[in-house]
């Protein structure tokens, strides 16, 4: 979390295009006043000049003294905009109107009453997975009449956003083969209790410990206990199960998709990457750990250690 206070040295002001038009109109008016030696036109000219100068003071004072604080950003999937929350606070006793926060060419409007503060989510587009640093933030204002444009030095926020790969369903989930074997092999490793959901006839693949033995005694039928959301099912999401025709990014996207689906379905899953495997588990920590690996695969410092 870093902060930034706008003082006199951090602030720049120049006329806008409309401001130059304004100057043009004033010079035409000056010509008229001189040519016709018309003192009232001179008076009007100077009123307009003074209005522009006062507007400059207003524009300057609309921005000076504001404080910016950046907050940690939440990770997002590639394709959805990353958001960087920034708190803008006005410690002065004067309200601020129409202040724009600009990052990477994207604008967010803010208006602050005296002594108030406002948190603004700066949205930035995500174009590749990995860490996305917040673009330098500028603050600008055209208040009050748009003839002057005041902007600040760049506020470089230390916050960064981790962008996960875009979840894409490119190939069907391999039902048989090595995947199944892995699943079976790992099935008994799991811990913890699941929610009871009901009974069903035994099928190949149901775990031994899930068989309801008392029912067998009564009905002579194998009945297994059903747990909610196939929670007892587990999937191995493996880099090696993907067809070799897929590129690296597509593989990551596909794995990401399965990961999201598995987490949604409440399944247990493990992520198998070359030289690095995250063991079967569930829950948000596990989920983000896996996504982390996918996001930084091959380029991030974390990813590099596993290469």
């Amino acid at each position: 979390m870093s902060n930034f206070t706008i003082s006199r040295r951090e602030l720049y002001i120049l006329p806008t295009r409309v401001g130059w038009y304004y100057a043009l109109i004033l010079s035409a008016l000056f010509g008229i006043a001189v040519k016709f030696d018309n003192q009232s036109a001179f008076m009007m000219l100077f009123i307009l000049v003074a209005v522009a100068l006062i507007a400059m003071v207003y524009t300057h004072n609309n921005v000076i003294g504001l404080k910016m604080n950046s907050h940690p950003s939440k990770s997002v999937f590639l394709g959805t905009p990353a958001s960087f929350p920034i708190t803008l606070s006005n410690p002065s006793a004067k309200p601020r109107h129409a202040v724009w926060l600009i990052a990477g060419g994207f604008h967010q409007l803010a208006a602050l009453e005296s002594g108030s503060q406002q948190t603004i989510d700066l949205k930035l587009p995500t174009i590749q997975r990995g860490y996305l640093a917040c673009e330098p933030v500028n603050l600008s204002s055209l208040y009050p009449i748009g003839v002057f444009f005041c902007w600040t030095k760049r506020f470089i926020s230390t916050e960064r956003c981790l962008v996960y790969p875009q979840p894409l369903d490119l190939v069907p989930f391999p039902e048989n083969g090595s995947n199944q074997g892995k699943e079976q092999a790992q099935a008994n490793v799991r811990l913890g209790a699941e929610d009871y959901a009901g009974m069903k006839n035994y099928q190949d693949g149901d775990r031994l410990r899930d068989i309801h033995w008392p029912s067998l005694a009564k009905t002579n039928k194998l009945v297994s206990i059903q747990y909610e959301n196939h929670s007892n099912s587990a999937v191995n999401l493996s880099w090696f199960n993907l067809p070799s025709t897929l590129g690296v990014e597509d593989r990551l996207s596909q794995l990401c998709y399965w990961l999201v689906e598995a987490e949604k379905a409440g399944q247990r899953y493990q992520l198998e990457m070359p030289n690095h495997t995250i063991e079967f588990d569930r829950g948000m920590t596990h989920y983000h750990e896996c996504l982390n690996v996918l996001a930084l695969w091959g380029n991030g410092p974390e990813g590099a250690t596993h290469d």
Binding site: V34, D37, N38, S40, V57, N61, I102, S114
Partner: protein, 695 residues
């Protein structure tokens, strides 16, 4: 070279990259409707200034745009815009015969505003419309610089500024807040504008590409010819011609106020014309100028002349010296190039025909006539000539004839016979305005061999402040006669004998009499005394009028006529040497403007909350009890005071308690981020605290 460019590079490097401008939002419909109202008012004002056709066209375009805003439909396609633009250009050329002239300029401008408004779509378009509106408001001063007009223009500027406020702010702010914000800003701008106005050095330059002054047009002037019946029509023209301020205690009385503008020596069948000055006249004028002394006259005065295309300047008869124009041998004062706007000059005059007025005259040209006396008039002429000892006696006899014959003075004189207007007027109709009498008298003088001419100018004027100021209007226009007798030019005003009230009480009184139908009747005297009674009802009204006229005079003196010379005079008062006036002006202007701007920067910079701010509010709260003779003593703590007043006003006890607690928190508690908000609500709480009941 490299070393030189380094600082520049550093300077450029210091400026960080400018971020892109905020995205344009759509202008709100309410704002656009306000803008439409402003433009509508401008178009309506345009009806009073320029051509009806153009105003109607602008109104039609304006109506179309208003419809578009209301129905939220799209703007007309580009080719229609092109057609409209070409049509409006063609119209300006058709109506004014070209580009030149300020009327053509302002018509073009109003069409430009209307067309730009019609095609406006983006925010920037509306910005430009607003800027054009500023310009349009300013250019209205070319036609009218009066106080009411500047009040209208300042209000207009304010309204335009508030629209700029609205379109540059994407969030909607209540109209009242916007108006008060723009009013504060314009109010803050005014002192700065005043400094710039008084100290910006006035220069003279001609920008050829700008529209020039209309040669014919609304600027009033006295005609260069005197046609019977024409001047009478100006009797109801109440437009101001010039204002006079007399210096010193020497003030002429009403019947001495003959403002000489032009002499007319050429007669064309009962009409008179001005003779254009020759180079010889200018040479004489140059000689006169050398000896002229503004202190030589009996009366000294400043004249603030309204805008006029007239080449002859009015001065009080008989002139001793003039600060502006060339004093010609016929003692009219000629201006080679008429001023483009209102202007001022000084004059010095004396009551009697000065010795310097005796100049040899060209007798032959001053006796030339086109009119011929008819038989009856011939008889009269012989009567007057018979047995006269000198010219002066003849003049006396003719004057007495006018006095003793039943001539009548009328503001609506009947037309005269086309072929013998002189005979018709002298012998049959005998009803006329001043020009009839001046014309007839001068012709008769010439027929009797006395060199004479008609003088046209103004007589009288409205006195303000006991005659110190005089306002002369076009309705005061007057014509009289001048005769060359005993080697001097002598003024003879035959109107004075026909209608003495015109000369002694001025045109105002005369017109009031005329309106009440009393002019020329037996009741004239009584009606006049009623009118001029200082205790009458009209007296109060007159005083009010005097104040207003005085304000007008000061306004004209300090703003409308604030030219190069007035600026010099101001500098002189400030004790600046005249030689480096421009440098002094620029220095004062820059120093003054920067000081004020820095003051604004310092004063307006947003600051955090101070503990004393809470105290200011608390004192305001205490003051509210003053009405009930309750005051806080110095030894009393706020808490004690609260207990005391709560016992007097039990129904307000809660509020008093809350205010006191908030005060303690803000003044003595910890100040943090929330304090500012707490202070704002404390302020509102104090403001809304009102004791209504009498205990």
């Amino acid at each position: 070279m490299i070393k030189l460019s380094n600082p520049l590079k550093q300077l450029l490097a210091k400026l960080p990259p400018m971020p892109s401008q905020p995205p344009a939002h759509d202008a709100r419909r309410g704002t656009l409707l306000q803008l439409a109202t402003l433009i509508g008012i401008a178009v309506l004002f345009h009806f009073s200034i320029a051509n009806l056709l153009i105003a109607l066209f602008a109104l039609a375009i304006f109506a179309l745009k208003t419809l578009i805003i209301f129905r939220k439909s799209s703007i007309p396609p580009r080719f229609i815009m092109m057609i409209l633009t070409i049509a409006s250009l063609g119209m300006v050329i058709y109506v004014y015969g070209g580009w030149n002239g300020q009327r053509a300029g302002i018509s073009f401008l109003i069409l430009l505003v209307a067309l730009k408004f019609l095609e406006s779509q983006t925010l920037r378009d509306y910005y430009i419309v607003c800027l054009l509106l500023y310009f349009l408001a300013a250019s209205s001063f070319l036609f009218n610089s009066s106080i009411p007009n500047i009040i209208i223009v300042v209000a207009y500027t304010l309204a335009t500024t508030s629209i700029l406020f609205q379109i540059s702010n994407p969030t909607k702010v209540p109209l009242k807040t916007t108006l008060s914000m723009s009013a504060t800003m314009v109010a803050k701008a005014l002192p700065l504008a005043i400094i710039l106005f008084f100290f910006f050095p006035r220069i003279h330059a001609d920008f050829g590409f700008l529209p020039s002054f209309d040669t014919s047009g609304n600027a009033a002037s006295l005609s260069d010819s005197l046609v019977a019946g024409e001047m009478a029509s100006s009797a109801f023209n109440n437009e101001l011609a010039f204002r006079v301020a007399f210096k010193g205690s020497n003030i002429p009385n009403q019947s001495q106020l003959y403002w000489r503008a032009k002499t007319m020596p050429l007669e064309r069948n009962f009409q008179w014309e001005v003779a254009e000055p020759t180079t010889r006249d200018f040479a004489v004028a140059a000689d006169t100028k050398k000896t002229a002394n503004l202190d030589s006259g009996e009366w000294r005065y400043d004249i603030l002349h309204e805008k006029s295309t007239d080449k002859y300047l009015p001065y009080l008869d008989y002139i001793s010296a003039a600060s502006k124009g060339k004093t010609l041998p016929d003692y009219s004062v000629y201006l080679v190039r008429p001023e483009a706007s209102a202007f001022s000059y000084e004059g010095s005059s004396s009551a009697n025909s000065a010795a310097s007025f005796a100049k040899p005259v060209d007798r032959d040209s001053l006796l030339q006539l086109q009119s011929k006396p008819n038989a009856k008039l011939q008889l009269l002429l012989e009567q007057w000539r018979e047995g006269a000892e000198n010219d002066a006696q003849i003049v006396q006899r003719v004057y007495h004839y006018f006095e003793n014959t039943p001539f009548e003075y009328s503001l609506l004189p009947p037309a005269l016979d086309e072929f013998d207007p002189l005979g018709d007027f002298m012998l049959n109709i005998r009803v006329g305005y001043c020009e009839h009498y001046a014309s007839a008298f001068t012709i008769i003088m010439r027929m009797l061999g006395i060199p004479s001419r008609v003088v046209v100018g103004y007589q009288g004027g409205t006195q303000v402040n006991g005659g110190k100021f005089i306002e002369v209007r076009y309705s005061d226009a007057h014509a009289w006669s001048e005769v060359w007798v005993n080697g001097l030019w002598q003024r003879v005003d035959p109107t004075a004998t026909i209608s003495p009230e015109r000369i002694n009480f001025g045109m105002d009184a005369l017109i009031e009499l005329w309106d009440s139908g009393l002019l020329g009747s037996n009741n004239t005297g009584r009606a006049l005394s009623n009118l001029l009674d200082p205790k009458g009802l009209s007296k109060v009204f007159r005083n009010l009028q005097d104040t207003w006229k005085n304000a007008g005079y000061q306004w004209n003196k300090w703003v409308v006529n604030y030219d190069f010379k007035a600026q010099r005079r101001l500098l002189e008062k400030l004790g600046v040497d005249q030689r480096n006036s421009v440098a002094a002006l620029v220095t004062i202007m820059i120093v003054g403007a920067f000081t004020l701007l820095l003051f604004y920067f310092w004063r307006l910079i947003p600051r955090g909350l101070k503990r004393s701010d809470a105290q200011v509010q608390y004192l305001r709260f205490i003051k509210k009890f003053k009405r009930y003779r309750i005051e806080k003593t110095n030894s009393e703590t706020p808490k004690e005071f609260a207990t005391r007043v709560s016992s007097r006003f039990p129904e307000y006890a809660n509020q008093i308690d809350s205010i006191t607690q908030n005060y303690y928190a803000l003044r003595y508690g910890n100040l943090n981020n929330e304090s500012v908000a707490a202070f704002s609500s404390f302020k509102v709480q104090v403001r809304q605290f009102n004791l209504k009941r009498k205990p």
